[in-house]
Amino acid sequence: MEFLNAIILLLNYIFMPALTYGSQLALGAIFVTLIYGILRFANFATGDMMAFGTMVTILFTWYFQSLGISLGVLPTALLAIPFAIVLTIGYMLLIDKFVFRYYRVSKSPPVQLAMVSIGVMFVTQAVVRIIIGPSDQRFFDGEKFIIKAGEFKEMTGLNEGLAIKSSQVLTIFVTIVLVSILFWFLNKTKTGKSMRAYSDNEDLALLSGIDPKRVVMITWIIAGILATIGGALYGLDKSFKPFTYFNNMLPIFAAAIVGGIGNPFGAFLGGYVIAFSEIFLTYAYKKFFMYVLPASMEPETLVQLLSTDYKFAVSFSILVIVLLYRPNGIFKGKVL
């Protein structure tokens, strides 16, 4: 019984949050990695593009809510996401046409493109803040919990409750579906294969008749889907604030690099590596040990490796360690 309690405790406070957070990071990291692999630059506007997608989702959600449309137990945002995706893709293609294409055609070094993406970051940030404002927005409606902690306790008779938020389940479910479709697309379809070929060796791909414009366009389309869904899921689970999205860029980068930048599968796993280590290292295990150890050995301190203030610092330290020992990431990078 004690042991079960301990496991439920870990499930509730470590496993579920980490899995959710990891999924959100994973989507962002695949976005970064795709841009890096195919368009060949580090996109510093990642976080803000995700914020843009989320903002459009919120605007559509509000619109639907004002019309009285809702999905019942599910959040209305799910209905808004497809429309938001279309708009976000449009925004990205517009930026690509007016900003990035010039540098791509003139074959500028990647550093220059990264600098340009900083300009895009400034502009996108301003657009988001001007349209929706800098403050916190919560747009989750529908049923909040699938299982409440109290109900779970009653059902099982355990001391520890397991609360499963519907946003958590939604995040994990959507991520799995989306990522499987993406991998199927990249590995099985002709377009996906041509994208991988382009990423692997641009000249050779051009020689064999792959249309670079099409590849670039599809990359931005996938990027738009990932950015909007990733951002919206994060917003549903926590809340939407442009500033947090900008800051999320950093763990997302960490996830992409840890997984081997340019490698979508690596980025996917990298997201979970970052999320789990952040939460594992900053969780206070006192209660866990109280369940597992006999009463005489109960710890007096919080048994916390690092204080939660260092959450971000943990992921960045992991990144530094990975860069030191495996500069190509845990899974070898640059093989889309």
Partner: protein, 443 residues
């Protein structure tokens, strides 16, 4: 550019104009630091904010009076922890030197680090709490050395150089864009530490009321010579006022304004000295054999390497030098503000904005860096007043559109982001080498 600042002085107030001017000077120092790394050597450092924060920390640690009680409460075990850290580093060095590279060695080092962290945490936990409990409202930290704050400009440079040495050792081998991300994330770690180690920095509780190298306004207002000076400057205006009481109150008002202008002028003088000295030194360095070698390395690493230049060493050196300059700027900033707020070190403000300055001014050109700092900082500060002015013009001419005007007034603040982004994009597209391009290609 100076003309624009003078215009601000005439139309808004000299106080505002001078504070913009001072921030321009500080930004110019930071920009020069980034420019040395990027323009001379092609190294991207997105960690500027970390070095600036370390410079600020130096200002605190140098100038604040030591808190005796806190030292009594926990000073000893903090010192012991420092020794433990040193011992840990030495142990790792020992392992690195004496064992061959293998999995076991890697795990060994990891064990040393983890064990070290746990031991340090256990030994220092109680004393950190004790220190933080000493008068938490006003002190709650160890304090500094109680020296004049000007020393911190040098110490800040050393702090930043120390961090740059470690970062450089770790990250300089990376490719350009990896380096950018790695430096950014490492500086985030540094900021996190500064923010949350309250016993050292007071963390988000901020340190306020730091010493000043220049006189205080209140003291100035009572000084005879200063009042006479103000009276002399404004004699024309004062003579117009006939009644004596009116004259006296007008003079008082002028003295109050004048004192803060005077203080800002003092700062401007100090900062100008630093900027000019740095300009001379960096310019000399750029045209010296060393500068030529740096540019050779930047333009073709392999060729320079083949000529017998130690590329890795030179990269590390220039990384340290540039970061040290940013550290000076960080210390200057805290000196000017008189307060240290770890929470304010954001990548947007202290990394990306500085980079916009470098790119706009012209990478590789020191004068360009200064010019870029002036232009961009001026735009950054003045774009929201200008935007507000435009909105007011609209609202005066348009009837019953209150909600729209309010909406715009709320958001005008973010126009500066759009300005920055567009300037950066336009410059990158049409003047890739900046407003003042590097002009020594033929040397």
């Amino acid at each position: 550019m100076l003309g624009l600042i003078i215009l601000v002085g005439i139309f808004q107030s000299w106080n505002v104009a001078l504070s913009i001017f001072n921030m321009c000077l500080i930004s110019a120092v930071m920009t020069m630091g980034a420019n040395i790394q990027w323009g001379y050597a092609g190294l991207i450092n997105f960690g500027l904010m970390g070095y600036a924060a370390l410079g600020g920390l130096a200002a605190v640690l140098i100038s604040v009076e030591p808190v005796q009680e806190a030292w009594v409460a926990g000073g000893f075990s903090i010192l012991m922890s420092l020794w433990l850290i040193v011992a840990m580093v030495l142990a790792i060095r020992f392992v690195l030197k004496n064992f061959e590279k293998s999995k076991i060695r890697t795990y060994g080092i990891a064990t040393i680090i983890i064990a070290g962290i746990i031991i340090i945490r256990v030994t220092s936990e109680t004393s950190i709490e004790a220190i933080e409990n000493v008068n938490p409202a006003t002190t709650g930290f160890l304090g500094g050395l109680g020296l004049p704050i000007m020393f911190s400009w040098i110490v800040g440079a050393f702090f930043a150089a120390g961090l740059a040495f470690i970062v450089g050792k770790v990250a300089l081998g990376l490719r350009a864009d990896y380096l950018a991300i790695a430096t950014l994330l490492i500086s985030e770690i540094v900021i996190a530490i500064i923010k949350h180690e309250d016993w050292l920095t007071r963390g988000v509780k901020n340190v306020i009321g730091l010493d000043r190298p220049v006189p205080y306004e209140i003291e100035l207002q009572t000084k005879e010579w200063f009042i006479n000076l103000v009276a002399k400057f404004n004699s024309g205006k004062l003579d117009l006022i006939s009644s004596i009481t009116d004259k006296q109150s007008a003079l008082n008002q002028l003295v109050i304004e004048g004192s803060s202008v005077f203080v800002k002028l003092c700062y401007s003088g100090l900062f100008l000295i630093v900027v000019i000295a740095l300009l001379i030194v960096t310019q000399k360095a750029l045209y010296s054999p060393w500068g030529r070698m740096m540019r050779a390395i930047r333009d073709n690493e392999e060729a320079a390497n083949a000529m017998g230049k130690n590329v890795v060493k030179q990269h590390l050196l220039i990384f340290i030098l540039g970061s040290a300059i940013v550290g000076i700027a960080g210390a200057m900033l805290v000196t000017q503000d008189g307060l240290f707020t770890p929470g304010s070190y954001q990548p947007m403000r202290y990394t990306f904005l500085i980079w916009v300055m470098v790119i706009v001014g012209g990478s590789g050109n020191n004068l360009g860096a200064v010019l870029g700092a002036f232009i961009i900082w001026f735009m950054w500060v003045q774009s929201s007043p200008m935007g507000l002015w435009v909105v007011e013009m609209i609202s005066n001419n348009v009837q019953d559109s209150n909600t729209w005007v309010e909406f715009l007034e709320d958001r005008v603040f973010y126009l500066r982001l759009i300005f920055m982004g567009t300037i950066l994009l336009v410059i990158m597209r049409f003047y890739p080498s900046g407003i003042l391009p590097e002009k020594n290609k033929e040397l």
